[in-house]
């Protein structure tokens, strides 16, 4: 047996280089070029949504779930150009991706724009310099979700009920800072679009009042579960996205758009400029926006929501659960997600952390 006699340090250094090279090489072989790589929210990972597209186009859709635009953009930052083909993003945050030069303009003539609810196309965010970078695929409301057999539905017409003693300990708060801060803004009579740093103290006071009434602050699952199993009767930030999917299990679950209004959430699809598979990416967006794709997306396993395409092939029962016909009235009273800049965003998140920590 021969052993090279070497300085251990140099062995170490060459080992270091080799190991990195090997890891990088092996890891790079992960995703194949023919696949479609999609950065998505959990509603897009439903096989019932993806499989028909995969089979029709003989392509594999790789999905990575994330929550929140900050986290999504961080994933893109950590990736190589061309790693991703399409992305789901809050419509209101599309400009953040455009600023970073990530997105490719979408061909409006190849997409069913005329069929969309006009209130949710969000042209102010999704169109820059006359070019469209995002198309709204699904929307809904962050408002009051509740169990109508346990609470007085009349109370659910006012955000003030959330902080009243009557429902102390009966409330869960959805653990996502933007929509709930938006609701707090509505409760104190502010417009979600106009929030500034000066509003934070008043918003914080409102959030702390909600927290004092709350039993838990939960992510999608925890808050859904709490409402569905009777752990709480009211979900702050809830809406059709919580109650619709559970309607079969618990028909007493409902949501209201209170007199102060509600926060409109709207998710868009965008295509990456560096995508190596733009034809397939466009086909994917076309599929999601098609009446069939829209129906599947609207009733996806993770959460339900309104399809942005009015022609979505939903059954009458599904439409009833989503309250499809009441949308014009709802939309008229809804306000957009707050869209803070990076600095205010950080302050809002810290405020949120403070709310979580409050006893």
């Amino acid at each position: 047996m021969t052993v090279n006699v070497r300085n251990p340090l140099s062995t170490l250094r060459s080992g270091l280089g080799a190991a990195f090279a090997a890891v990088a090489l092996l890891a790079a072989g992960g995703a194949q070029a023919a696949d479609l790589n999609a950065l998505i929210w959990c509603d897009h990972s439903d096989p019932a949504l993806l499989q028909p597209f995969e089979e029709a186009n003989n392509v594999k859709v790789n999905v990575k779930e994330f929550e929140g635009t900050g986290a999504g953009l961080a994933i893109v930052d950590q990736s190589q150009p061309g790693d991703w083909d399409v992305m789901v993003i809050d419509s209101i945050d599309v400009p953040r991706g455009i600023e970073k030069g990530l997105f490719e303009p979408l061909p409006e003539d190849k997409l069913p724009f005329a069929d969309l609810f006009p209130e949710v196309t969000m042209d102010k965010s999704t169109v820059v310099d006359g070019k469209r970078y995002g198309i709204t695929e699904k929307f809904g409301y962050n408002t009051i979700g509740f169990n109508k057999s346990k609470v007085d539905p009349a109370d659910m017409q006012s955000l003030a009920s959330l902080t009243s003693d009557k429902y102390k300990g009966k409330i869960a708060i959805y653990d996502y800072y933007l929509p709930v801060i938006g609701m707090a803004a509505l409760a104190i009579g502010k417009k979600t679009a106009d929030l500034t740093e000066a509003d934070l103290p008043a918003l914080k006071a409102e959030l702390l009042k909600m927290k004092a009434n709350a039993k838990l602050v939960g992510e999608v699952t925890a808050s859904q579960t709490a409402l569905a199993t009777g752990e709480v009767d009211i979900l702050v930030g809830g809406g059709e996205w919580v109650t619709a999917g559970l309607a079969k299990e618990n028909p007493a679950l409902d949501f209201s758009i209170p007199k102060e209004g509600a926060v409109l959430w709207s998710q868009s699809l965008a295509m990456f400029k560096d995508s190596k598979n733009k034809d397939m990416a466009l086909k994917f967006i076309q599929y999601i926006l098609s009446p069939e794709g829209q129906a599947r997306l609207a009733t996806s396993a993770c959460y339900w929501g309104m399809p942005s395409n009015k022609k979505a092939t939903l059954t009458d029962e599904q439409k009833k659960i989503l309250r499809f016909d009441e949308q014009p009235g709802f939309l008229a009273r809804a306000q957009a997600y707050p869209a803070p800049n990076a600095d205010l965003d950080k302050k809002m998140q810290d405020m949120w952390t403070e709310m979580l920590q409050a006893q």
Partner: protein, 281 residues
């Protein structure tokens, strides 16, 4: 390290270098990278101490550390108090030939998936869960107790796991004790209580400390259990770290918080270091 000259010096280095290189490359180097990252600004990447000063100036960040320490201390103490008598019963009261089986049974739920274990506790503790249903139908309580989504739930989930772990380490330690120690103590006129306090307990201290240290390391760094069972009514450090990554992609701040957490664990390590030596048999 000196330059190896002969074949006789090269072989041992060839044996230990792969493991050392792995540790340097994938443990020490990442740690340095994390340290550097913690000193940069999230936006722009300029050198800054802001990530650390945030922790020390923001009370809700501080609070996360306090919560972590409180939860970890509570869990460690309760787990030891529950596990010690249990390990003792297994080692002393259970007939020899059944001991192996009894111990196996005691740690069987160890093999359920770690994510699923916390989730199971949620089912047990929920408002309409097994415990509340049992208590209400037995007429012991009128209104369901709030068990899930509290610190109590987090602590219960942790204690469940660490009782098993500590039972293992303490049991192993008790079995190593030669019966002659106890006999000698008895011969010298010590009663069972004094024998226990002055002989058995000190001799099983290593087992307790090893288990306690593992409990502290695993407990203070765990994200899943508080996230599933705590209902976000308070945050512990790992939740705060994951929040920075998951919500904002703020690696520098997450790095700084991790390093602070690591520093605290190091203190615990130094406190237990004398019991944690790995020696050859």
């Amino acid at each position: 390290m000196s330059v190896a000259g002969t074949n006789g010096r090269a072989l041992p280095w060839a044996l230990v270098t792969p493991a050392l290189a792995w540790t340097l490359l994938f443990f020490v180097l990442p740690f340095i990278a994390m340290g550097l990252s913690s000193l940069t600004a999230h936006e722009g990447g300029a050198l800054t101490l802001a990530n650390y000063s945030q922790f020390f100036t923001n009370p809700s960040y501080w609070r996360a550390m306090v919560n972590s320490l409180e939860v970890t201390a509570t869990v460690t103490v309760i787990s030891i108090v529950l596990a010690y008598p249990f390990a003792w019963i297994l080692a002393e009261q259970v007939p020899e030939r059944w001991q192996r089986l009894a111990l196996m049974l005691a740690v069987l739920p160890f093999w359920t998936s770690y994510v699923v274990r916390s989730y199971s506790w949620l089912l047990v503790l929920a408002q309409n869960g097994v415990i509340n249903r049992a208590l209400t139908s037995a007429g012991l309580i009128a209104e369901p107790l709030q068990l899930a989504n509290t610190r109590l739930a987090t602590v219960t989930g942790f204690v469940h796991f660490f009782v098993m772990l500590l039972t293992l380490t303490i049991f192993a330690n008790l079995k190593q004790l030669s019966p002659s120690y106890r006999k000698a103590a008895a011969d010298l006129g010590a009663g069972p209580v004094r024998t226990f306090l002055h002989v058995v307990l000190p001799l099983t201290l290593p087992g307790i400390m090893v288990g306690a240290f593992l409990t502290v390391v695993l407990c203070i760094g765990d994200y899943i259990t508080p996230q599933i069972l705590g209902g976000n009514n308070e945050l512990v450090m790992p939740q705060l770290v994951m929040m920075q990554i998951g919500r904002r992609g703020d690696f520098p701040l997450a790095s700084a918080l991790s390093i602070i957490l690591m520093a605290v664990v190091t203190v615990a390590y130094l406190a237990c270091a004398r019991w944690l030596k790995i020696e050859r048999a």
